[in-house]
């Protein structure tokens, strides 16, 4: 999504493009290895990824920003993997972006129309932000039209839709109780297209990148869970991958911030960590070129990859399962009593959380996109 320092000319494959930039085959395979690891593929898959990436042309990406804070765009701007990371973003031609486009007003609206028309049926639509539905949608207007109107229109010609961030996923902070503007996510509006939810407030930029690579490489979107989140990133709970997990198992907890336990890096469960109820790539991918992640920097997880986390995971510093919407409300009293017994009770609470989430984790595959990007039928101007 970045404007690239290594422009890619029409008709050039990634392989040719890399070569012209002086990137060796070896560097490229190392990169394919990294991206394969991110996608959870075995080493055997690396040559396949390399071949697929080398063959594709530069497909069009249209990025719509609806009711949102631009944090998701910023997150993608921080994507990791230096130099070769730019390349991943350079896999696409970013044909519409509020944040980055040079022109404004009519000029960019025309660019959007052209991109839709030229790439009809083939472009990837990235959406950040929710859709306000109250009062006929007047709470977010773009170029004089409602956000919903623009989304419905642009989604028609999309090969696939990436709903990036908690707002596009389910509405996020503006949809928190009492949801004043009636904000909803993309899947609540667009029902006839494959939509992948890149969950998080914001999500890690690298997950967005990896999802695009997945689509380009395999000609279909990745498999997802019942929330529409790619399994390669959201398939496991934070708690099961946490670098502080050993302290949970040993009953070693931070009881108040900056206590001796905090200074030893012990488990944050007692100060509200929602890691046991949160499916997220944070512990593995980490943030900002793998510098750290929330729990790594001493703050409990607030569960931002889970739907309705502003209501179900708060108060953020209350211990699971005491928080309001944890989905095991009937058991709160029971668990509360058990928790008083100490660490083993914590394990019990977390076992129940696991059960709840296992039920929710029913895998749901998205429809396979028939035509690989760039290889679809000439759709011309229909509906543009």
């Amino acid at each position: 999504m970045l404007p690239t320092s290594h422009p890619w000319i029409e008709g050039e494959t990634l392989g040719e493009h890399l070569e012209s930039r002086g990137v060796t085959r070896r560097d490229f395979l190392v990169f394919c290895g990294q991206i394969s690891a991110v996608l959870g593929l075995s080493e055997i898959a690396v040559p396949g990824v390399a071949n697929a990436l080398q063959a594709v042309k530069r497909p069009s990406v249209i990025w719509l920003q609806l009711q949102e804070c631009t944090g998701c765009v910023e997150s993608v701007l921080r994507t990791a993997e230096p130099t070769i990371g730019d390349l991943v973003l350079d896999l696409v031609s970013l044909d519409y972006s509020h944040t980055l486009m040079a022109g404004a007003g009519h000029a960019v609206e025309a660019a959007l129309k052209d991109a839709v028309k030229t790439n009809y049926g083939k472009y990837v639509l990235v959406v950040t932000g929710s859709i306000p539905t109250k009062e006929g949608g007047i709470y977010t207007m773009l170029g004089g039209r409602t956000a919903e109107d623009v989304l419905v229109d642009v989604s028609k010609g999309a090969a696939a839709i990436l709903a990036v961030g908690a707002c596009a996923h389910w509405g996020s902070v503006q949809a928190a109780r009492p949801n004043p503007t009636g904000a909803v996510g993309v899947r609540d509006i667009i029902k006839d297209k494959p939509v992948v939810n890149i969950a998080g407030c914001p999500p890690i930029g690298d997950v967005v990148t990896a999802t695009v690579v997945h689509f380009l490489t395999f000609g279909r979107l990745p498999d997802v869970d019942s929330e529409g989140r790619p399994l390669f990133a959201y398939g496991k709970r934070i708690h099961d991958q946490c670098s502080r997990r050993a302290h949970f198992d040993a009953g070693q907890y931070v009881e108040v911030f900056d206590d001796e336990a905090a200074r030893k890096g012990w488990c944050l469960y007692h100060v509200g960590c929602k890691g046991p109820a949160t499916f997220s790539p944070c512990p593995i991918f980490q943030w900002n070129t793998r510098t750290s992640w929330p729990i790594g920097a001493g703050h409990p997880c607030i569960g931002c990859t889970e739907p309705h986390f502003w209501d179900t995971m708060s108060p953020f510093y209350d211990r699971l399962p005491d928080v309001g919407g944890f989905g095991v409300e009937q058991r709160v009293d029971l668990l509360g009593a058990a928790l008083a017994l100490g660490a083993t009770a914590g394990v019990a609470a977390h076992a129940i959380a696991t059960g709840v989430h296992q039920m929710r984790e029913k895998k749901r595959s998205l429809p396979v996109v028939d035509q690989p990007p760039g290889g679809g039928p000439e759709s011309g101007a229909k509906g543009a």
């Binding site: 000319i9 944090g71 404004a104 004043p180």
Partner: protein, 571 residues
Amino acid sequence: MAATKVVVDPITRIEGHLRIEVQAENGKITNSWASATQFRGIELVMVGRDPRDAWAFTQRICGVCTVVHAVASCRAVEDALGITIPPNAELIRNLIHGMQYVQDHVIHFYHLHALDWVDVVSALKADPEGTAKIARTISPWPNNSATYFAEVQNRVKKFVGSGQLGIFTNGYWGHPAYKLPPEVNLLAVAHYLEALDWQRDVIRLHTVFGGKNPHPNFLVGGMASAINLDSTATINAERLTDIADMIKRARRFVEQVYWPDLVAIAGFYKDWAAIGGGAKNYLACGEFPEAGVKDYDKLYFPRGLVLDRDLTKVHPYDHMQVTENITSSWYEYSGGEGAALHPWKGESQPRYTGPKPPWTYLQGEPKYTWMKAPRYDGRVTEVGPLARMLVAYASGHPDVKAIVGDTLGKLGVGPAALFSTLGRTAARGMETVLLARKLQDWYDALVMRIKSGDTQTFTKDKWSPDKWPAKAQGYGYLDAPRGALGHWVQIENGKISRYQCVVPSTWNCSPRDDKGQMGPYEASLVDNHPLVNPEQPLEILRTIHSFDPCLACGVHVLDAQGNLLTEVKVQ
């Protein structure tokens, strides 16, 4: 000749959704309207929440200024509950907020503002040797060879040649208002690309202390990142070294790339020092506490107001003089259209009266925006880098006086040049230079404290709600990259009963008030402002971008039930 009606919607390269309408006649703008077209309602969402969670909710007002609402919120809650944070936490917050300024201002210059002044297509015609010569004259930055610039130029050539122009599609390339020689355009394009890599690196300071960026984590009472030199899981020597290096790289880029580029480019656009001034009053609420938030004399950037552009006097800032007006906004007040309410008495009943979508024009509508109109003592007031630099300059701040004097000297213009589109952009660069230096001071102070055995980052005593009074209220100020910000919180029985923010872009993007006074964006667009070709509104983008609009921040208020919120007395 009749006036031409012009609509620019969306305004791109900003945060959020902004529509500008103007009327133009004989190449000049004669009238203007600024409309914020997005509305989210975060303050209402706050009611009934745990005040210790408020920073996380309000932080999501904006993902670009991703630090400022969180810190302002922590300050408001800490003020209400009588919490003083430890000096280490204050230093860490200053480092985080300081780096936010530096990173945000550089991104603004290259990625949001530069294309208003830099013609990417013209860079193709540059002689890379000439660019290298210019680069070496203005900076010792290592990437200044003809080979390097030729490589960048080749990439751009290929890009333009591909026909897939991506974000550069339908730019205003070749517009007569672009004045830079091709060689300088090439220099700026090269640094546009370098800045993308740079920003991703230096912002990792947020990740070390806050676990992620955007939206790093904060904590009422201090910071959650514990310090222990003998642990692998805390702030230790390895983490501190990483931070120290980031600070060095941040400063080097600012001093050797951003600032020299800005001064060089400004030299070609001196006419813009007489364009786009607009509002005549400037407000700074002060920032970077060095002895606690209550010691206003020890803020690195001072607070106060410059009125009627009189730089001989600084007027004291009193937040009780702030009122909000809704004459032109899609709200209604129980006291009538003309009422001007202080935030403590604020009402936020939305009432959309605009045309049914899709819109053609909003000009001529009595109400045309979701933005309220804040005024200071009834005056239209600008906030942001220019306001901060003017208030500091008029206060006799030595660092600011030096850099303002030096810059005006280099450009050969007087202080009056500051009241302009160019002045706004220059002021942003000046404060970035000062803060890039200041980061080192805060880092050194933090290391000294740790060395002396103080590793405290959190004040525990009032963390638990059973230590709180039944009723409390607090005010948190913060001068953010885009200007003066205030959060007001009221707490009853451990829960938020009311939350209110007055935000930089609300000040600057405000519409006409009950007296018909235009807001700062609007006023700037009719202040000696050209618009040569209404089809290519490049000049409008220059002035609007000089404010660095952040619309999601500006509009956030909604009380869907339309309740008259409880009136309270200021402490």
